[in-house]
Symmetry: C2
Subunit: 444 residues, 2 copies
């Protein structure tokens, strides 16, 4: 099979604008990405990155979200990708097992420099990017993530280059080569989770996509079949046989941005802890208790369901983004699960001590819900109080996930929580206007 | 074990300048890299890359070899890496199974912007980079390359970041983080062999190294243990257990730049075909024959010994860099195995037809020579003439390889063949002077 060629063909010939639900979801995605990035506006990491980019220099062409500055196209892709993913507050997609919009949107924004009129094609390109990234995720198989790859990084560059290819209506040969350049630069390690480098891996994938398409359109030589064969991308990073049956099956008949759909985050931490957060908040409301009363909290996952939650004893709020122990403890102490609990500030010793009451467990005999998000996932939080009482709650689909989705009003509420009302309204207007200068300015 | 920490410690505390052979070899390496890059001065790919870099913009800080232009530090690392490796005419190292200087030298040249006085420390940093890259190659194991990774790309960024760390005397913590940033961006696929992207993968590794050290020195957050554990670099790209016993064993007691040593190329094509080239040239001299007389040429490798020679029926000279069939045919037709036979020009139909007489074979029962380069390699060329006569030649150590090394005069001859005598002399002077402005200007 010629997967690279067939992928390029499929991407360039489909028409995502026919599906109004997909278009509507793409608008939600833009609003949510703006909210995630603006929430990170004051992040320390972005200041360091901006200084490094300034030192390197470059043409001021594309705005960096919320920073009031323009930088070169490649640098903008990197910085905007970083910003959207900085707080882990951006959308995730269960097929990707990662964050599609943090890569695809910045890569597309960096194409808005040359004054071409893309209009609604911008939304169609975004839908395309999510589609390809979801299909890559399904094709690469579970083992890819489990071995230590960061799917957002490793799958993002190829997906975003397909989005750019659709946007710019490049030739099939150019797209095949661009996929090749992106594939051969794909990287990102889960070992970086919990550090500034995690969100930067999203930004780097976006930069790679912009650069790869530039290379391809310049006529620079490269493989036109990077996905194929025993030395190809799928063999190297995953499993080629699996990809052959999944990458292109039914491309364009339904859109993954709708089903299984983007998952917009209610909480600013790793999505693998959202089920547990919903569960503990439910229990606190239905069966109020104080933290002192708690003898033990058992958090039960399917095997591997907590793989992304790499911190069991975090010392800062930032590390706590990847700790179900910290999330449970915050909630138990009645603290809001909001941005200021997940900064570089040290976690109080009171909370750190209490966190030891939280134990993780795994049960492979429990049947996952057929519509669970992500597929096969659940979390059960069982609290044993000091008087021996136990209370427990199971969550299969967390709030914000497909099947329990946020409305446009919910997303606007998220946006309003991170910026002033007039700016939030301006962004909404820009997304609904849907023309190039509005897209570009919406994030300036 | 804490491999990341131990590697940073070893790199920062060793003193390569104590070994005069290592220093001399480093000087040879600089001369040879200059020759390889200047041979590619008119390459089409570099023109395309320069145009893209110009479009992106940046501070003009570091010269691009032979181009009479300066670009930003990161872009210079990328472009100089591309140039050195563009024609596959640069050094290789058998422990690396790739091209150390094409990554390490450009990464170091990009540090010469700030007017600090490095002096001989520049040579020591280069020796350090080769050392780390060789040890990474030995640690990562054969399977890494065989699966499809391009070692020059995947190992180069970490090695070059160690070289920069030594040069700049960064703190151990900074180096540990820089190794982390480089490791998490490591990429490069053999699938790109035979295209412009192969040498660019060397340049991209150099760029990643420059960028990773900048990130680390800015205080940007990242893992300080990227090499370690089940999610670490060695587990993900290779085999952690192997690395634990090999990465640091005896660091600093001998230097890999001397033993097994750099291999400077006599021919401008993939080193895996050099044994066969020596063999056919020997046979033509000792037992002259015409191409028409040849019935069949059998080229015998140990199993896997021709893995890099991915082209069996090349259609251009550029593809022919990875074809033992093309190399044998050129020699049989009495053509010089020089640069102009390995360009984008189509191969003549006469040669293409004749190439079919060349057959590859594998024999695992043949004992490799104890000092074979690379370890375990040999090539036997057996020619059957139309009258039934057979002549054959076995080569274990090709000319230019350690054990059959080029002298400084040989390397100067290579340099003289690609640039005018006065410029060659100026480069030699610069390398022997060994101060920052001479290193910087030598490649301008």
């Amino acid at each position: 099979m010629e997967l690279t060629k067939q992928l390029a063909e499929a991407v360039l010939s489909a028409d995502p604008l026919q599906d109004h639900r997909a278009v509507e979801m793409a608008r939600h995605g833009l609003l949510d990405a703006a909210a995630a990035a603006l929430a990170a506006k004051e992040d320390e990491g972005i200041q360091k990155l901006m200084a490094l980019v300034e030192q390197e220099g470059g043409e001021a062409q594309i705005p960096v979200i919320g920073q009031g500055k323009k930088v070169s196209r490649q640098s903008a892709a990197m910085l905007n990708g970083y910003l959207i993913h900085a707080l882990d507050y951006d959308d995730v997609h269960s097929d990707v097992r990662g964050h599609p919009s943090a890569v695809i949107i910045p890569a597309l924004l960096s194409q808005l420099s040359d004054g071409k009129g893309f209009g609604d094609r911008f939304l169609a390109a975004y839908i395309t990017g999510v589609e390809v990234m979801a299909r890559l995720g399904e094709s690469i198989g579970k083992a890819h993530y489990e071995r230590g790859w960061h799917n957002t990084g490793t799958l993002g560059a190829i997906a975003a280059v397909c989005a750019i290819g659709y946007l710019k209506k490049v030739s099939q040969e150019e797209l095949m080569k661009a996929i090749g350049f992106a594939g051969a630069q794909s990287a990102g390690m889960r070992k970086q989770f919990g550090s500034d480098m995690k969100p930067l891996q999203a930004g780097l994938a976006a930069r790679t996509a912009v650069w790869s398409m530039d290379l391809a359109c310049s006529g620079f030589g490269g493989s036109e079949s990077i996905l194929d064969g025993t030395l190809g991308f799928f063999s190297l990073y995953g499993d080629e046989e699996r990809a052959e049956s999944r990458l292109l099956d039914g491309y364009g008949t339904t859109w993954r941005i709708v089903s299984p759909g983007l998952w917009f985050k209610v909480y600013p931490f790793c999505s693998a802890a959202h089920h547990a957060a919903d569960a503990i908040l439910y229990l606190m409301k239905e069966h109020p208790f104080s933290p002192e009363q708690v003898k033990q909290v058992d958090v039960l996952f399917p095997p591997g369901g907590d793989a992304a939650l790499i911190e069991r004893t975090p010392s800062t709020g930032e590390e706590g983004r990847f700790s179900v122990e910290y999330v449970i403890a915050l909630a138990a102490f009645g603290q809001t699960l909001a941005l200021d609990a997940f900064t570089k500030k040290p976690i109080s010793s009171q909370i750190r001590t209490w966190m030891k009451r939280v134990k993780r467990g795994y049960d492979q005999t429990i049947e996952p819900h057929p519509y669970a998000v992500p597929k096969g996932r659940f979390t059960i939080v069982k609290i044993t109080l000091s008087d021996g009482t136990t209370i427990s709650k199971r969550v299969d689909i967390p709030r914000g996930a497909p099947g329990h989705a946020l409305s446009k009003e919910d997303i606007m509420q998220k946006l309003n929580s991170v910026t002033d009302a007039s700016y939030a309204k301006q962004i909404l207007q820009a997304v609904e206007d849907g023309n190039d200068s509005s897209y570009k300015q919406m994030l300036a």
